[in-house]
Symmetry: C2
Subunit: 334 residues, 2 copies
Amino acid sequence: MRETPFTRLRSGFWSRIDAAESIALVSHIDPDGDAVGSTLALYHILRAYGKDVNVVTRHAVPKFLRFLPGAEKFTPVRAASGIPRPPDLVIVLDCSDPVRVGDLVAVIEAARDVIVVDHHRDEERIPGFHVIDETASATAEILFDLCSGKLSRMPESAALALYVGISTDTGSFRYGNTSARSFRIASELIKAGRLDVPLIGKYCFARETLSRLRIRGEIYRKVVIEDNLIYGVIRPAELEKRGWDIQEAEGVIDDLALCPEVEYAAVLWELAPDYIRVQLRSVHDESVLEPARALGGGGHRKASGARIRGASLEEVLERLKRELRGVRPQRVRA
Amino acid sequence: MRETPFTRLRSGFWSRIDAAESIALVSHIDPDGDAVGSTLALYHILRAYGKDVNVVTRHAVPKFLRFLPGAEKFTPVRAASGIPRPPDLVIVLDCSDPVRVGDLVAVIEAARDVIVVDHHRDEERIPGFHVIDETASATAEILFDLCSGKLSRMPESAALALYVGISTDTGSFRYGNTSARSFRIASELIKAGRLDVPLIGKYCFARETLSRLRIRGEIYRKVVIEDNLIYGVIRPAELEKRGWDIQEAEGVIDDLALCPEVEYAAVLWELAPDYIRVQLRSVHDESVLEPARALGGGGHRKASGARIRGASLEEVLERLKRELRGVRPQRVRA
């Protein structure tokens, strides 16, 4: 094979694995589809490769991903104390920011060797051997290239997990990270894993519940567009009074951000009368990071948030609108 | 190239095109993403191939698809009278049922030759040369295989239109028709058309409006689960009173069908006090065609409907529940 920067990374990746007796896989806290998918895929691949490998995690696999073979390997441990002995090699997946691994950073620091495989653009990076590709739609996409051809056959469970990583991180092949390469790899994974695509789609995306529909109903009917902002308000106390699960309100912001009429989407949560959580999304291309920072929060360019104490919902809303108005000519809409 | 059943179809397809001086493209009424995408793609390809080609349609391109180059070619005509002279060849796309082309059937009957390209399982078929592949996710997928390699380069506008056909008909690569082949073709189209996937996703899927959110809010907050059915009620008169666009309520049924807790989803429209429209979807695998037929309607196995005169909403609901209960052990849920 012709030597390219990637083949050099690939052989570095495998020589480190070959040199290790024991391997631990670590991903970020609150693991999502790509974190879980990448971790389980590599778990199955390294097992088939004959390695002693464990998943070290702070959180269990979210309910909707428990259909993945090996999901039970995500047994939450308490930092380093949960592991019998420090592994020779820790592979950190879908995360390069030390803050995003929580107190598992101690596990990483105790390891003899560290590999980081990620597609995020983080400023601070966990030290180690880095396989970072920001053009990849998901860490699962990078892992596919690192691992394919290494075994005589990719385990079906690994193909499934990688597919779930790519599919969830691209919002089912719609977000800006989706590329010809994502589609090509998805096609190969379907064949390798004999995957039931619609069933996976149901697990990953078709997750309406009566409670979630009703909560969204309550919020959507009162949604407001003002200037360049669409916003909704969530009052957890009210939802609780009706016996609804507050967690089901979590995705509301993503629906509001599907509104091309505006630049920004926000959800304001009245956690207490003077304690407001703000979720912010960019609908087109404006950054929401600066407005979030101005409110004392943070996050990413296209998704950010803040928690504000000592201000009412109305006050926070006014401050938010002032921050957002700074950026662009307003589009007023009654 | 080795001769296969498909290569025979492909050469039959092109020899008919070669033999025709004038070609008209026809698709079904109320054209969707695949109907519009397939038609415009073939329009661009046949133009580049040097053919005299027209689109003959009863309906304009829906608003969200007007970003497609050539969308203005969908200029609605009134049956055969709108065409100066009968074309040598009519190519019917994404439709093989004569009923689904409406009165354009007269245009088809006037042509010297007819090709039908479709991926639906229709019982009655428009007579002609058939390229039917029920395993294809979309007519656009069949057209890709029929046309690729025929020109030195696929026009970018055609690649875009084919991608839109596949992407909309698979619900962005999530429905049961999605296959390794769909992904492979999508990957090739992205390269051929230099496509901006997230922008296409925004046009095709990110179409929330304030009005649509509020309408869904009104409906979702009162959604009910009973036995194996989730249902919502739409009262167009009420929506109109609030100044909302009834058309925006059209997709509600698809959200209800994302609820894995039940077997069936229904939306009941009270068009008038004793005139009820029922939309039905199968959530898992049960057929909704028989219940729809029992109510005097029809449709497909997984999506059907009926319009019932002379019965109140409550009466129709009771009849519907009786029909659905016949099929399976009930799952009662308060």
